[in-house]
Each structure stands twice: as C-alpha cells, then as structure tokens.
C-alpha cells in the first residue's frame, strides 16, 4: 500500500522542522510505513459521507468586547529561552545562502 522511503521521511521531517539523524530515517521509514498501512484502511469509507471536523455543538462563540488586563510582559517572557530589552530574543532570521 503505502511505501514510505527514507527520502519521504527526510521531506516530512524538513516540513515539520525536525533535524532527524540518518539512523532515524531508517527506523522511521519502516515505522511510518507500517502505521500508514494500518490507517490507510480509511480509504474504504464511501466518498459521499459528509466530514465531521469536531463534535462540539458550537458555532461562533462571542463575548462582550470589554478591556481586561493581559498577561504581564514579565510573565510572558519568564519562560523564554532568551529575552532582551523586554522582548523575545531570536536567532538571525536569514540563512547564510539567503
């Protein structure tokens, strides 16, 4: 059925921002293949069934637009790996080649 190769795993890992190792490519390609073979059984479901994305009996949830205190800046930054001058400090955005 499905046929997940090492290069498929490498592609998925790149999309998902996972710097997987060579060993992981081997292990995951076999495992993802087995999982997709199992879950691929949903292909037997007829096409004319409407989809269900969630089961909560809710559509739009509205509330009055009233000002309220937000999370204080110090609290929001307290768990950050790096913060500077009251902001999140991030590594450079562009790569060497860009």
């Amino acid at each position: 059925m499905s046929d997940i190769t090492r290069s498929d795993v490498a592609h998925l890992a790149r999309l998902a921002r996972l710097a997987v190792t060579d060993d992981e490519l081997d292990v995951f390609s076999g495992q993802l293949d087995a999982i997709l073979d199992t879950v691929g059984r949903v292909s037997e479901i007829p096409d004319d069934v409407p989809p269900t994305s969630h089961v909560a009996p809710l559509t739009n949830v509205l509330r009055p637009d009233e000002p309220a205190p937000s999370l204080p800046r110090e609290a929001a930054l307290a768990g950050a790996p790096e913060a500077e001058e009251g902001r999140f400090r991030v590594p450079r955005i562009l790569g060497e080649s860009q």
Binding site: R14, R17, Q31, V42, I45, T52, L58, L71, P81, I93
Partner: protein, 506 residues
Amino acid sequence: MTELTRLSAAEIARRVQAREVSSVEVTRAHLARIEAVDGSLNAFLHVDAEGALAAAAAIDEEIAAGTIRGPLAGVPVAVKDNIATADMPTTCASRILEGWRPPYDATVVTRLREAGLVPLGKTNLDEFAMGGSNENSAFGAVRNPWDASRVPGGSSGGSAAATAAGEAPLALGSDTGGSIRQPGAFTGLVGVKPTYGTVSRYGLVAFSSSLDQIGTFGRSVLDAAMLHEVVGGHDPADQTSIAAPLPPVVEAALAGARGDLAGVRVGVVTELSGEGYQPGVLAAFTDAVRVLTDLGAEVVEVSCPSFTAAMPAYYIIAPSEASSNLARFDAMRYGLRVGDDGSHSTDQVMSLTREAGFGPEVKRRIMIGTHALSAGSYDALYGKAQKARTLIVRDFAAAFEDCDVLVSPTVPTTAFPIGDRVDDPVAMYLADLCTIPTNLAGNAGLSVPCGLSADDGMPVGLQVMAPALADDRAYRVAAAYELARDTSSGTPFASTIPDPAVLENA
C-alpha cells in the same frame, strides 16, 4: 500503607470536615507514601510538599473557623503534568518543556484550589499524552502497582499509578483516545472521560483539540464523580466549553449505589469483542454483563459497524491535529533552545531544538500528521478519516436510540509487560481500540474495575459509554455495578489493590 492512604476521598473529606483528622495529617500521610514507594513507581515528576502542607494548613484553619469550601475540601489530589500550574513545573514529560513554569493555572487547577483540594504534585505521562503505556515519557517509565514489571497504561499512567498505590486519593488526567479509561482499567481504578467540552481545557497543553478532554481518577465511582463536579462546568476561557449545566454525576453515583438498574437498557457492542481479546478479559466482561442483568438492566446486543474504522481514523486525526498544535514548540517563546550559537538561523535552531526536545513517538505523530495534511494525501487520509468520524457518530446515535448506555471491555488485554510494544507502534495503538470511538463522537465514557483476569491476575475494566451530556447514566450504571461486585466478593475491590510496598524490592 497507613490507614489514611487507603481511605476513599469521600471518607477523607468527611473526617477532615468533622475535624476527626486534619488536612495536614492526611497530606503528610500521602507525602510519606510518595516518599516510600515513588522511587520505584515513578508516578510523580514533581512533588510540592511545602506547597501542599501550606495549602492543607490553610484549609484546616478555615474549617476550624467554620468555613468548608466544598465537599472535597481538605483532600489531596495529583495533577497530570500536561495541566498548567503556576506554582509547579509543567513539562508534558518532554525535554522540550523541562522545568517550564506556566504563567497561569489551568481552570481545573483554579477550581481545585477554590474547592479546597490540596495539589500534591504533577504526575508522569506519555510525552504530550501520546501513548498507551507511559513508556514514552522523557523522564522514565511508570510501574504498575499491581505488578512492577508491567505498564500502568497511558497516557495518564502516573495519575493512575499514584491513585492505585495510595500516593493520592484522587487524580486528574486527560483522555484523547482512552488515556484515562485505559490506565484506569490497567490499574484497577475508576477512570472517567466526561462529555467533550464539559470540563474546561484552558491550561491543558493541547495534543488533539477536537478530542482532548480532562477527566478524573478515583478508587470508587463516587470519588471520581465528586472530583468531576469540582472541575466540570462551563468556562468562558475555553472556546469549546459547552454552556450547559454539568450532568448531576454525584447524584447519579449515589442513586446507582442503591443497586437498582430496573428499566435501564444496556447495549453490548458486538464489534468491541472477539478476536484479539484476551480470554480472561472477555470472561470478566461477560460476568460483569451478567451482574448488570441481575440488577434489573435490560441487556441487548447492538452492532456499530463503523467502530472498526475508529482506530485508523483516530491515528490520522489525532496526529494531524498534533502536528499543528505542536508547531508552537519553536524554541522562541518558551522551553528548550538548541544551537543558538550565532552560526544557525532561526529555522535551523527550530529544527535542532525539536529534534533534541521531542521523543520518537512525538516525532512519528508529527510526521504522520504532516503527511496526512499534505496536498497529495489530504483527501485519501485526513478527508476520509473525517468521513469515518461521521459514520461513528451515526452509529452511536442509532445505538443510543435503543440503549441508555453501551458497554464493552475497556481494553482488549490487561496491562502488558514494560518493553513489550515499544518497538511496534501499531501494536501499541491497539490498546486504544475500545476507547477511541467515544472520543471521536465526543460522548461520555468511564471505566470501572470488573475483577481480575484469570490469565494473569491483572485488573480488567468495564467500559460504560453514554450519550453526550448524559454522563450521569454511565455513573449510575457503574455505581450499581460497583456495589454488586463488592457485595458478591465480600471485599471492596479498592482494598484488594496490592500494597506496592513490595515494589521497594522490585
């Protein structure tokens, strides 16, 4: 085990509120129990002895002054470590959140505190609640108090082991595909997944948002119901919270304990039985159904043919939602950051961090979800899984026209040995076979112990499923069954949980 750590939560509450014992004494007894057995069980990732004793002392003062905050005031409780606590770390058993302290309490934690319960600490789980054995924790597996060589189930394995071992009388867990009911069954506890949207998820670290539900563990049906009423009910901070009154679950547990199920229609689901089910599990289940008949219930067999598609659909929908939800772990705003040495770009730091911070099962699910949502696979996988979900909802609706509740074994097997399924993700996924349909449909479900399997002496769970917002029906049936079970054996099942002091030698 001291007597205090064997008592039901209801009895602890009665004694504390009658000032026969203080909340501080009860809390100390549980902390001592944790000290004695958790070195081998590994149920807790964090214990806040100081905070718990301070909270207990404050409750004792209030009670002395004549104020009782609620029916469970003064009772200790354990909290699964994917539920945010401002005064304790919240790690989701992941390296990526190691040591992280949330800036706020989850609504359920706020409600615990407001009701006078005493949080003892945070319990171990499969990383980000992804797993059925607790072996996917970055901080070590949890042992089953019934047999230290076996898993306690998962993902709420720490909450289950802690409650079974008398480290806490009550615990909160979360159930996305069975993560409360399945460990409840594996450890001989009552484990409840309430109707989707009836317990606030504000402050629950999201795994699969259309399925996740916080629920309760107790050693009795009444205990689980009492905790359910503390944490349940509408919360404006959770957009998926249903603005309906919570079903009267405590009343239903008390009504059930009068032992009469006359007029209750119980459906046995054909598809949740048969091949692949352990003989001892099926035998215990059949005995339990006979007890329900003896209690006056009208038992019929019902077919829900689409349930066979539930496992494949779930293992597409849950990873898809997870791949999106876990995108927030980007090394920028909280948690781990790897490779920020000036030579790597933001994009590279994200990839290095997620590679180092996530365990194998989380990576597998993120990649499966990424695949299922990609342009070439969306229709064949995610789209079809959503259609399967519709059929499962319809099967439940048809079954509940003829039945008040549905029953099945909670899990096809008893707790399996640690290490048995770690290299075979598909075998691991089978542990959720019976519990997944309820999550996909958003209904209520619980597991109540129904004796031991003759195969291996391990506990078996009876799953009781009820329609959305009719959680009380499941409680009534479970409470009636629980009483009949204990009356016929002559011993409360909860008192037969082996004393894991023996684990100290394991």
